[in-house]
Protein backbone atom coordinates (compact mmCIF):
# COMPACT_ATOMS: atom_id res chain seq x y z
CA UNK A 1 0.00 0.00 0.00
CA UNK A 2 2.78 2.37 1.08
CA UNK A 3 4.82 1.34 -1.96
CA UNK A 4 1.91 2.11 -4.31
CA UNK A 5 1.46 5.53 -2.68
CA UNK A 6 5.17 6.33 -3.17
CA UNK A 7 4.96 5.20 -6.77
CA UNK A 8 1.99 7.50 -7.34
CA UNK A 9 3.85 10.42 -5.71
CA UNK A 10 6.75 9.83 -8.09
CA UNK A 11 4.39 9.46 -11.05
CA UNK A 12 2.63 12.69 -10.09
CA UNK A 13 5.99 14.48 -9.89
CA UNK A 14 6.99 13.22 -13.34
CA UNK A 15 3.56 14.18 -14.70
CA UNK A 16 4.02 17.72 -13.30
CA UNK A 17 7.39 17.98 -15.06
CA UNK A 18 5.76 16.81 -18.29
CA UNK A 19 3.09 19.50 -17.87
CA UNK A 20 5.87 22.11 -17.53
CA UNK A 21 7.47 20.80 -20.71
CA UNK A 22 4.21 21.00 -22.61
CA UNK A 23 4.45 24.77 -22.27
CA UNK A 24 7.98 24.72 -23.69
CA UNK A 25 7.18 22.61 -26.71
CA UNK A 26 3.62 23.71 -27.45
CA UNK A 27 4.69 27.38 -27.57
CA UNK A 28 6.00 26.88 -31.09
CA UNK A 29 2.58 25.61 -32.18
CA UNK A 30 1.01 29.00 -31.48
CA UNK A 31 -0.89 30.72 -28.68
CA UNK A 32 -4.27 29.19 -29.55
CA UNK A 33 -3.16 25.71 -28.49
CA UNK A 34 -1.93 27.00 -25.14
CA UNK A 35 -5.22 28.77 -24.48
CA UNK A 36 -7.34 25.64 -24.93
CA UNK A 37 -4.89 23.26 -23.20
CA UNK A 38 -4.29 23.20 -19.44
CA UNK A 39 -1.89 20.32 -18.88
CA UNK A 40 -1.73 20.92 -15.10
CA UNK A 41 -5.51 20.42 -14.74
CA UNK A 42 -5.26 17.09 -16.59
CA UNK A 43 -2.53 15.93 -14.18
CA UNK A 44 -4.52 17.02 -11.09
CA UNK A 45 -7.75 15.39 -12.28
CA UNK A 46 -6.10 12.11 -13.23
CA UNK A 47 -4.25 11.62 -9.95
CA UNK A 48 -7.10 12.90 -7.75
CA UNK A 49 -9.44 10.25 -9.14
CA UNK A 50 -6.76 7.59 -8.56
CA UNK A 51 -5.65 8.61 -5.06
CA UNK A 52 -8.48 10.55 -3.43
CA UNK A 53 -9.13 14.03 -2.08
CA UNK A 54 -6.08 14.59 0.18
CA UNK A 55 -3.59 13.54 -2.47
CA UNK A 56 -5.57 15.61 -4.99
CA UNK A 57 -5.52 18.72 -2.80
CA UNK A 58 -1.75 18.55 -2.22
CA UNK A 59 -1.04 17.80 -5.88
CA UNK A 60 -3.37 20.65 -6.87
CA UNK A 61 -1.39 23.00 -4.62
CA UNK A 62 1.93 21.88 -6.14
CA UNK A 63 0.76 22.00 -9.77
CA UNK A 64 -1.05 25.31 -9.30
CA UNK A 65 1.94 27.02 -7.70
CA UNK A 66 4.27 25.73 -10.43
CA UNK A 67 1.84 27.07 -13.03
CA UNK A 68 1.75 30.41 -11.20
CA UNK A 69 5.56 30.55 -11.12
CA UNK A 70 5.60 30.39 -14.94
CA UNK A 71 2.94 33.03 -15.34
CA UNK A 72 2.67 36.75 -14.72
CA UNK A 73 -0.63 36.55 -12.86
CA UNK A 74 -1.04 36.82 -9.10
CA UNK A 75 0.93 34.02 -7.45
CA UNK A 76 -1.47 31.61 -5.77
CA UNK A 77 -4.60 31.98 -7.91
CA UNK A 78 -4.01 28.77 -9.88
CA UNK A 79 -2.75 27.19 -6.67
CA UNK A 80 -6.08 27.87 -4.95
CA UNK A 81 -8.27 26.76 -7.86
CA UNK A 82 -6.29 23.58 -8.48
CA UNK A 83 -6.27 22.69 -4.76
CA UNK A 84 -10.06 22.83 -4.78
CA UNK A 85 -10.20 20.98 -8.10
CA UNK A 86 -8.03 18.16 -6.72
CA UNK A 87 -10.08 17.95 -3.53
CA UNK A 88 -13.47 17.96 -5.28
CA UNK A 89 -12.38 15.45 -7.91
CA UNK A 90 -10.97 13.07 -5.30
CA UNK A 91 -13.93 13.51 -2.96
CA UNK A 92 -16.66 12.97 -5.56
CA UNK A 93 -14.89 10.06 -7.30
CA UNK A 94 -14.81 8.20 -3.94
CA UNK A 95 -18.59 8.46 -3.62
CA UNK A 96 -19.80 7.80 -7.16
CA UNK A 97 -18.47 5.37 -9.72
CA UNK A 98 -16.73 7.37 -12.44
CA UNK A 99 -15.08 4.40 -14.15
CA UNK A 100 -17.36 4.04 -17.23
CA UNK A 101 -15.98 6.06 -20.14
CA UNK A 102 -18.97 8.34 -20.74
CA UNK A 103 -19.53 9.03 -17.05
CA UNK A 104 -15.80 9.62 -16.63
CA UNK A 105 -15.78 12.19 -19.44
CA UNK A 106 -18.84 13.94 -18.03
CA UNK A 107 -17.32 14.00 -14.54
CA UNK A 108 -14.06 15.49 -15.85
CA UNK A 109 -16.01 18.10 -17.81
CA UNK A 110 -18.05 19.11 -14.76
CA UNK A 111 -14.88 19.40 -12.63
CA UNK A 112 -13.04 21.42 -15.30
CA UNK A 113 -16.01 23.78 -15.70
CA UNK A 114 -16.10 24.26 -11.92
CA UNK A 115 -12.38 25.04 -11.91
CA UNK A 116 -12.79 27.57 -14.71
CA UNK A 117 -15.72 29.30 -12.98
CA UNK A 118 -13.68 29.51 -9.78
CA UNK A 119 -10.62 30.81 -11.65
CA UNK A 120 -12.71 33.51 -13.36
CA UNK A 121 -14.24 34.57 -10.03
CA UNK A 122 -10.95 34.66 -8.12
CA UNK A 123 -9.12 36.48 -10.95
CA UNK A 124 -11.92 39.04 -11.24
CA UNK A 125 -11.80 39.70 -7.49
CA UNK A 126 -8.00 39.86 -7.30
CA UNK A 127 -7.34 41.91 -10.45
CA UNK A 128 -10.59 43.89 -10.54
CA UNK A 129 -10.44 44.01 -14.33
CA UNK A 130 -12.37 42.44 -17.13
CA UNK A 131 -10.93 39.12 -18.26
CA UNK A 132 -9.77 38.35 -21.79
CA UNK A 133 -11.64 35.29 -23.04
CA UNK A 134 -9.68 35.24 -26.34
CA UNK A 135 -12.83 35.37 -28.43
CA UNK A 136 -14.41 32.51 -26.47
CA UNK A 137 -11.48 30.17 -27.18
CA UNK A 138 -10.74 29.79 -23.48
CA UNK A 139 -14.20 28.28 -22.96
CA UNK A 140 -13.00 25.23 -24.89
CA UNK A 141 -10.40 24.56 -22.18
CA UNK A 142 -12.69 22.44 -19.91
CA UNK A 143 -13.75 20.33 -22.89
CA UNK A 144 -10.15 19.68 -23.98
CA UNK A 145 -9.17 18.89 -20.37
CA UNK A 146 -12.09 16.44 -20.04
CA UNK A 147 -11.26 14.69 -23.33
CA UNK A 148 -7.57 14.36 -22.43
CA UNK A 149 -8.29 13.24 -18.85
CA UNK A 150 -10.80 10.56 -19.78
CA UNK A 151 -8.54 9.43 -22.66
CA UNK A 152 -5.79 8.80 -20.11
CA UNK A 153 -8.12 6.53 -18.11
CA UNK A 154 -9.28 4.76 -21.27
CA UNK A 155 -5.67 4.08 -22.30
CA UNK A 156 -4.84 2.87 -18.78
CA UNK A 157 -7.82 0.49 -18.78
CA UNK A 158 -6.88 -0.90 -22.18
CA UNK A 159 -3.27 -1.47 -21.09
CA UNK A 160 -4.42 -3.23 -17.91
CA UNK A 161 -6.80 -5.45 -19.89
CA UNK A 162 -4.02 -6.35 -22.29
CA UNK A 163 -1.68 -7.05 -19.36
CA UNK A 164 -4.18 -9.34 -17.61
CA UNK A 165 -4.85 -11.23 -20.86
CA UNK A 166 -1.12 -11.77 -21.30
CA UNK A 167 -0.65 -13.01 -17.70
Amino acid sequence: MRETAMKDVLRAFVATLIAVLVYSLAGAAGPALLIVLNAFSVVVLYFSVRRGEIFGAFLGTACGLVQDAFSLGVFGVSGLTKTLLGFWAGFVSRRIDVAPLFRNGLFMLAMSVLEMVLWVLVTAVVRRESLNFHGGLILLQPLVTAVLGSSLFAVERRLRARGSRGA
Binding site: T61, L72, G76, V126
Partner: protein, 279 residues
Protein backbone atom coordinates in the same frame (compact mmCIF):
# COMPACT_ATOMS: atom_id res chain seq x y z
CA UNK B 1 -12.29 9.77 18.27
CA UNK B 2 -10.44 13.12 18.06
CA UNK B 3 -11.72 15.77 15.69
CA UNK B 4 -8.54 15.46 13.56
CA UNK B 5 -9.38 11.82 12.71
CA UNK B 6 -13.01 12.59 11.94
CA UNK B 7 -12.46 15.68 9.83
CA UNK B 8 -8.97 15.10 8.50
CA UNK B 9 -9.78 15.86 4.81
CA UNK B 10 -11.77 18.98 5.60
CA UNK B 11 -9.06 20.33 7.94
CA UNK B 12 -6.30 19.75 5.37
CA UNK B 13 -8.37 21.48 2.70
CA UNK B 14 -9.10 24.39 5.03
CA UNK B 15 -5.37 24.71 5.82
CA UNK B 16 -4.40 24.74 2.15
CA UNK B 17 -7.11 27.26 1.27
CA UNK B 18 -6.02 29.58 4.10
CA UNK B 19 -2.39 29.24 2.91
CA UNK B 20 -3.38 30.31 -0.63
CA UNK B 21 -5.56 33.18 0.55
CA UNK B 22 -2.67 34.50 2.66
CA UNK B 23 -0.32 34.07 -0.31
CA UNK B 24 -2.64 36.03 -2.59
CA UNK B 25 -3.46 38.73 -0.07
CA UNK B 26 0.18 39.66 0.61
CA UNK B 27 0.57 40.52 -3.08
CA UNK B 28 -2.33 42.92 -3.20
CA UNK B 29 -2.12 45.69 -4.25
CA UNK B 30 0.00 44.32 -7.08
CA UNK B 31 3.35 45.75 -8.05
CA UNK B 32 5.36 44.23 -5.24
CA UNK B 33 8.54 42.29 -5.95
CA UNK B 34 8.19 38.58 -6.68
CA UNK B 35 8.32 36.49 -3.52
CA UNK B 36 11.28 34.30 -2.67
CA UNK B 37 9.04 31.24 -2.90
CA UNK B 38 7.91 32.14 -6.43
CA UNK B 39 11.49 32.83 -7.50
CA UNK B 40 12.61 29.50 -6.02
CA UNK B 41 9.99 27.59 -8.02
CA UNK B 42 11.14 29.35 -11.20
CA UNK B 43 14.80 28.57 -10.39
CA UNK B 44 13.90 24.93 -9.72
CA UNK B 45 11.83 24.21 -12.81
CA UNK B 46 13.30 26.48 -15.51
CA UNK B 47 16.53 24.41 -15.90
CA UNK B 48 14.35 21.33 -16.45
CA UNK B 49 12.42 23.22 -19.09
CA UNK B 50 15.66 24.36 -20.68
CA UNK B 51 17.25 20.88 -20.59
CA UNK B 52 14.35 19.06 -22.17
CA UNK B 53 13.81 21.76 -24.80
CA UNK B 54 17.51 21.41 -25.61
CA UNK B 55 17.27 17.61 -25.83
CA UNK B 56 14.15 17.72 -28.00
CA UNK B 57 15.68 20.35 -30.27
CA UNK B 58 18.97 18.42 -30.34
CA UNK B 59 17.28 15.14 -31.31
CA UNK B 60 15.18 16.92 -33.92
CA UNK B 61 18.21 18.68 -35.31
CA UNK B 62 20.24 15.42 -35.40
CA UNK B 63 17.46 13.64 -37.24
CA UNK B 64 17.09 16.39 -39.80
CA UNK B 65 20.82 16.85 -40.25
CA UNK B 66 21.51 13.16 -40.72
CA UNK B 67 18.60 12.12 -42.88
CA UNK B 68 17.74 15.27 -44.68
CA UNK B 69 19.69 18.34 -45.61
CA UNK B 70 23.02 17.77 -43.77
CA UNK B 71 25.51 20.33 -45.15
CA UNK B 72 22.84 22.55 -46.65
CA UNK B 73 21.15 22.91 -43.29
CA UNK B 74 24.38 23.97 -41.59
CA UNK B 75 24.95 26.62 -44.22
CA UNK B 76 21.36 27.73 -43.95
CA UNK B 77 21.64 28.11 -40.17
CA UNK B 78 24.82 30.15 -40.59
CA UNK B 79 23.10 32.40 -43.10
CA UNK B 80 20.05 32.73 -40.84
CA UNK B 81 22.29 33.76 -37.95
CA UNK B 82 24.10 36.29 -40.12
CA UNK B 83 20.78 37.56 -41.43
CA UNK B 84 19.52 37.90 -37.86
CA UNK B 85 22.44 40.13 -36.86
CA UNK B 86 22.31 42.08 -40.13
CA UNK B 87 18.63 42.79 -39.63
CA UNK B 88 19.29 43.98 -36.11
CA UNK B 89 22.21 46.14 -37.19
CA UNK B 90 20.23 47.58 -40.10
CA UNK B 91 17.34 48.47 -37.86
CA UNK B 92 19.56 50.16 -35.30
CA UNK B 93 21.50 51.91 -38.04
CA UNK B 94 18.32 53.38 -39.46
CA UNK B 95 17.06 54.39 -36.06
CA UNK B 96 20.32 55.98 -35.02
CA UNK B 97 20.66 57.83 -38.32
CA UNK B 98 17.26 59.36 -37.78
CA UNK B 99 18.04 60.40 -34.26
CA UNK B 100 21.59 61.68 -34.51
CA UNK B 101 22.67 64.12 -37.15
CA UNK B 102 26.31 64.20 -36.35
CA UNK B 103 28.33 61.45 -38.02
CA UNK B 104 30.56 61.11 -35.01
CA UNK B 105 27.55 60.56 -32.78
CA UNK B 106 26.19 57.88 -35.15
CA UNK B 107 29.50 55.99 -35.07
CA UNK B 108 29.71 56.20 -31.31
CA UNK B 109 26.16 54.94 -30.81
CA UNK B 110 26.53 52.05 -33.28
CA UNK B 111 29.76 50.92 -31.62
CA UNK B 112 27.83 50.71 -28.38
CA UNK B 113 25.03 48.63 -29.95
CA UNK B 114 27.41 46.10 -31.55
CA UNK B 115 28.24 44.76 -28.13
CA UNK B 116 24.82 45.04 -26.50
CA UNK B 117 22.82 42.40 -28.36
CA UNK B 118 22.50 39.00 -26.71
CA UNK B 119 20.76 36.43 -28.95
CA UNK B 120 18.51 34.04 -27.00
CA UNK B 121 16.16 31.13 -27.65
CA UNK B 122 12.59 30.94 -26.33
CA UNK B 123 12.25 27.88 -24.09
CA UNK B 124 8.80 28.41 -22.64
CA UNK B 125 5.54 30.30 -22.88
CA UNK B 126 3.33 31.61 -20.04
CA UNK B 127 1.37 28.75 -18.51
CA UNK B 128 -1.79 30.78 -17.87
CA UNK B 129 -1.93 33.05 -20.92
CA UNK B 130 0.56 32.86 -23.83
CA UNK B 131 0.21 36.60 -24.50
CA UNK B 132 1.74 37.51 -21.12
CA UNK B 133 5.26 36.11 -20.85
CA UNK B 134 7.91 33.90 -22.44
CA UNK B 135 11.04 32.32 -20.94
CA UNK B 136 14.49 32.73 -22.56
CA UNK B 137 17.55 30.49 -22.30
CA UNK B 138 19.85 33.36 -21.31
CA UNK B 139 20.26 34.73 -17.79
CA UNK B 140 22.50 36.74 -15.51
CA UNK B 141 25.58 34.71 -16.59
CA UNK B 142 25.07 36.04 -20.14
CA UNK B 143 24.73 39.65 -19.04
CA UNK B 144 20.94 39.68 -19.08
CA UNK B 145 19.19 41.53 -16.26
CA UNK B 146 15.86 43.10 -15.38
CA UNK B 147 14.23 45.74 -17.65
CA UNK B 148 16.08 45.08 -20.91
CA UNK B 149 14.31 45.41 -24.27
CA UNK B 150 13.76 42.22 -26.29
CA UNK B 151 13.31 42.24 -30.09
CA UNK B 152 12.50 39.52 -32.61
CA UNK B 153 14.78 38.60 -35.50
CA UNK B 154 13.41 41.47 -37.62
CA UNK B 155 14.05 44.07 -34.96
CA UNK B 156 10.41 44.38 -33.88
CA UNK B 157 9.82 44.95 -30.17
CA UNK B 158 8.69 41.82 -28.29
CA UNK B 159 8.85 42.96 -24.67
CA UNK B 160 11.17 43.47 -21.72
CA UNK B 161 12.95 41.23 -19.28
CA UNK B 162 11.42 41.02 -15.82
CA UNK B 163 12.10 39.13 -12.63
CA UNK B 164 12.78 36.28 -12.04
CA UNK B 165 16.15 36.33 -13.81
CA UNK B 166 18.03 33.14 -12.98
CA UNK B 167 21.61 32.26 -13.96
CA UNK B 168 20.68 30.86 -17.37
CA UNK B 169 16.98 31.71 -17.78
CA UNK B 170 14.97 34.92 -17.88
CA UNK B 171 11.28 35.77 -18.00
CA UNK B 172 10.12 38.33 -20.59
CA UNK B 173 6.94 40.38 -20.26
CA UNK B 174 5.43 40.66 -23.76
CA UNK B 175 4.07 43.97 -25.03
CA UNK B 176 0.71 42.18 -25.37
CA UNK B 177 0.48 41.71 -21.58
CA UNK B 178 -2.18 43.70 -19.76
CA UNK B 179 0.33 45.26 -17.37
CA UNK B 180 2.85 46.19 -20.08
CA UNK B 181 3.28 49.79 -21.18
CA UNK B 182 5.55 51.16 -23.92
CA UNK B 183 5.97 54.85 -24.71
CA UNK B 184 5.55 55.29 -28.48
CA UNK B 185 5.24 57.87 -31.23
CA UNK B 186 3.54 57.38 -34.59
CA UNK B 187 5.88 57.66 -37.56
CA UNK B 188 3.82 60.05 -39.74
CA UNK B 189 1.63 62.28 -37.57
CA UNK B 190 3.71 62.10 -34.40
CA UNK B 191 0.90 60.93 -32.10
CA UNK B 192 2.45 60.12 -28.74
CA UNK B 193 1.01 57.71 -26.21
CA UNK B 194 1.50 54.44 -24.47
CA UNK B 195 0.97 51.00 -26.04
CA UNK B 196 -0.66 48.71 -23.52
CA UNK B 197 -1.49 45.06 -23.99
CA UNK B 198 -4.83 43.38 -23.53
CA UNK B 199 -3.47 39.88 -22.87
CA UNK B 200 -4.61 39.08 -26.40
CA UNK B 201 -3.39 39.52 -29.96
CA UNK B 202 -4.31 43.24 -30.20
CA UNK B 203 -2.93 46.11 -28.08
CA UNK B 204 -4.22 49.61 -27.34
CA UNK B 205 -2.62 53.02 -27.81
CA UNK B 206 -3.62 54.95 -24.70
CA UNK B 207 -3.45 58.56 -23.56
CA UNK B 208 -3.89 60.14 -27.01
CA UNK B 209 -6.11 63.17 -26.48
CA UNK B 210 -9.46 63.27 -28.27
CA UNK B 211 -8.62 66.80 -29.42
CA UNK B 212 -5.48 65.62 -31.23
CA UNK B 213 -5.67 65.21 -34.99
CA UNK B 214 -3.94 62.81 -37.35
CA UNK B 215 -3.23 59.12 -37.18
CA UNK B 216 -4.31 56.63 -39.80
CA UNK B 217 -4.80 52.86 -39.91
CA UNK B 218 -1.50 51.26 -40.92
CA UNK B 219 0.66 54.03 -39.45
CA UNK B 220 3.77 52.67 -37.76
CA UNK B 221 4.50 53.15 -34.05
CA UNK B 222 8.06 53.49 -32.76
CA UNK B 223 9.41 53.59 -29.22
CA UNK B 224 10.28 57.05 -27.89
CA UNK B 225 12.76 55.98 -25.22
CA UNK B 226 11.03 58.19 -22.62
CA UNK B 227 10.28 55.19 -20.40
CA UNK B 228 14.03 54.55 -19.96
CA UNK B 229 13.51 50.83 -20.69
CA UNK B 230 13.11 50.60 -24.46
CA UNK B 231 15.67 52.37 -26.68
CA UNK B 232 14.17 54.97 -29.01
CA UNK B 233 13.22 53.98 -32.56
CA UNK B 234 12.26 50.32 -32.12
CA UNK B 235 9.31 49.18 -34.24
CA UNK B 236 6.34 48.24 -32.04
CA UNK B 237 3.36 47.80 -34.37
CA UNK B 238 0.90 49.63 -36.57
CA UNK B 239 -2.41 51.38 -35.92
CA UNK B 240 -5.32 49.06 -36.69
CA UNK B 241 -8.27 51.35 -36.04
CA UNK B 242 -9.12 54.75 -34.51
CA UNK B 243 -12.44 55.44 -32.83
CA UNK B 244 -14.04 57.93 -30.52
CA UNK B 245 -14.07 56.54 -26.99
CA UNK B 246 -17.63 56.85 -25.68
CA UNK B 247 -16.63 55.86 -22.15
CA UNK B 248 -13.85 58.45 -21.93
CA UNK B 249 -14.39 61.73 -23.79
CA UNK B 250 -10.83 62.86 -23.01
CA UNK B 251 -8.95 60.19 -24.97
CA UNK B 252 -9.21 58.42 -28.34
CA UNK B 253 -9.63 54.65 -28.60
CA UNK B 254 -6.83 53.36 -30.83
CA UNK B 255 -6.25 49.64 -31.51
CA UNK B 256 -2.72 48.56 -32.34
CA UNK B 257 -1.51 45.41 -34.07
CA UNK B 258 1.92 44.42 -32.74
CA UNK B 259 4.50 43.45 -35.37
CA UNK B 260 5.98 40.45 -33.60
CA UNK B 261 4.50 37.03 -34.33
CA UNK B 262 4.72 33.92 -32.16
CA UNK B 263 6.13 31.88 -35.05
CA UNK B 264 9.07 34.31 -35.44
CA UNK B 265 10.16 34.51 -31.83
CA UNK B 266 12.04 31.22 -31.59
CA UNK B 267 15.17 33.39 -31.53
CA UNK B 268 15.15 36.89 -30.05
CA UNK B 269 17.67 39.64 -29.26
CA UNK B 270 18.04 41.03 -25.77
CA UNK B 271 19.40 44.58 -25.78
CA UNK B 272 21.54 44.76 -22.66
CA UNK B 273 22.23 48.11 -21.09
CA UNK B 274 25.80 47.56 -19.96
CA UNK B 275 27.06 46.60 -23.39
CA UNK B 276 28.63 43.41 -22.09
CA UNK B 277 26.59 40.96 -24.14
CA UNK B 278 28.28 38.22 -26.08
CA UNK B 279 27.73 37.97 -29.79
Amino acid sequence: MPIWEKRRSALILAGLVVFHILLISIQIPRGAEKSLFEKSLFFLFSPVQRAVTGVVRGVGSLWTNYFDLRGVRGENQKLKKENFFLNQDLRFLEDRLQLFRSEAQVRERLAAFQGTIVPARVIGVDSANPYQTIVLDKGSFDGVGKDMAVCDRLGNLVGRTIEPVSFKETMVQLITDKDSSVSVVSSVDGLTGSVTGNSGAICELRYVLASSTGGQPGEELLTTGYDKIYPAGLRVGSIRSLEKDESSPIFRRIAVEPYFRFNTIDIVAVITKAGSGAR
